[in-house]
């Protein structure tokens, strides 16, 4: 079995892990996302090990270690946080007889320095994969195309159906999205995976997280995005880089977002998405370790 350690708040870590899991066989995903139940309902075939989001820090650390031990994975794939989100994997990695793979999404370099991650990754990981050219990498790595939870042939094309406001961040950020949606006379709905809706949208208003950005670029849909502050992720930098690869407009104010969204609407049908899903290549490279 492969185990993907995908702890972290929000949708991002879990969605990226599910993308990889869909391209492989016999994969378990460890998550503490508050949205895990929604993902489980949408894809009941997934093997999810869920730590409740409200679990206190020490208990969550302990539970994560327990899942890793009990799963006895042949490959342990750790998303974003080399030592684990709470540092709990640090004493464990050397002790388990698994191939270790790090999924290297962008992280704050101050975290890398403060946790001594350069040497830690060199000492503990057999392979580092960077999921797409939009992520800044700090460790020796292999680069794949972006990882997406859908393949191009699973998405519906056709005539785009207007502005989609994707409130995928933290609950405290919802009010901003609600205000943008209100100005645009549209509504916010809860749906996962959001990429299904992006393919049918004229323009997306969202944040600067990995999945929102890569999914919009893959679908060729313009993204009007606000960079939200995160402890590890640097959304403003991702959006700046993404603007070199597609239609990405970075905004801050509600009115600015609404204006930018309306300006991005184009009449007529859009060409069907034809992206390469990097998860296939990622699975091939992981299998190469065995």
């Amino acid at each position: 079995m492969w185990l993907i350690y995908a702890l972290g708040g929000g949708w991002g870590h879990l969605t990226r892990a599910v993308a990889l899991a869909r391209a492989a066989r016999n994969v378990r995903v460890l998550t503490n996302s508050p949205y895990a139940a929604i993902v489980a309902r949408a894809m009941p075939e997934l093997d999810l090990a869920i730590i409740p989001a409200q679990t206190p820090l020490e208990e969550a650390r302990h539970a994560a270690v327990q899942v890793v031990r009990d799963s006895s994975p042949k490959v342990l794939i750790v998303d974003t946080f080399p030592r684990g989100l709470g540092g709990e994997l640090s004493p464990l990695l050397a002790a388990i007889p698994a191939q270790k793979v790090l999924v290297h999404r962008d992280v704050n370099p101050r975290y890398i320095a403060s946790a001594g991650l350069q040497q830690f990754v060199k000492d503990h990981y057999d392979l580092v994969l960077v999921p797409g050219p939009g992520e800044e990498a700090y460790f020796e790595h292999e680069l794949t195309a972006p990882w997406l939870v859908r393949n191009a042939n699973e998405l519906r094309g056709g005539v785009p159906g207007g502005v989609l406001v994707c409130a995928s961040g933290m609950p405290s950020e919802f009010e901003w999205y609600r205000a943008v949606a209100s100005l645009l006379s549209t509504e916010i709905s809860q749906y996962w995976p959001a990429i299904d809706r992006y393919a049918e949208a004229s323009v997306v208003v969202g944040g600067g997280g990995y999945n929102t950005v890569e999914e919009c670029l893959a679908c060729g849909v313009p993204l009007v995005a606000r960079a939200w502050p995160r402890t590890y992720d640097r959304q403003a930098r991702r959006l700046s880089r993404a603007s070199q690869r597609g239609r990405v407009v970075q905004v801050h104010a509600v009115e600015e977002a609404a204006r930018a969204a309306l300006a991005e609407i184009r009449p007529g049908p859009r060409a069907p998405a034809t992206f390469i899903n990097g998860t296939v290549e990622a699975v091939r490279r992981i299998e190469g370790l065995l």
């Binding site: 972290g8 820090l57 969550a60 975290y111 403003a236």
Partner: protein, 80 residues
């Protein structure tokens, strides 16, 4: 003035940082200790008349990146 007293407030223009004053007396930020957290009360950070004259690569997300201390890492299981 209490010996060894250190101001508990945050100060700063764009990014909050610790205040290193040893007394609030004469402090232009907290106005002699009358403002609990001067950084929160600042309203002139986003007072630019037009975003065209604001450096767009420089956002509140960058600000948060700069003020995160090492103690904040690996201590929150809802981080991202």
């Amino acid at each position: 003035m209490t010996p060894g007293w250190k101001c508990p407030r945050r100060v700063g223009f764009l990014f909050p940082h610790e205040c290193f004053r040893t007394t609030p007396v004469g402090c232009p930020d907290c106005n002699n200790g009358q403002v609990q957290d001067p950084f929160v009360s600042r309203s002139d950070r986003y007072g630019y008349p037009d975003y065209d004259i604001f450096p767009m690569d420089f956002t509140e997300a960058d600000g948060a990146d700069l003020v995160a201390t090492s103690e904040e890492f690996e201590s929150d299981m809802s981080g991202s």
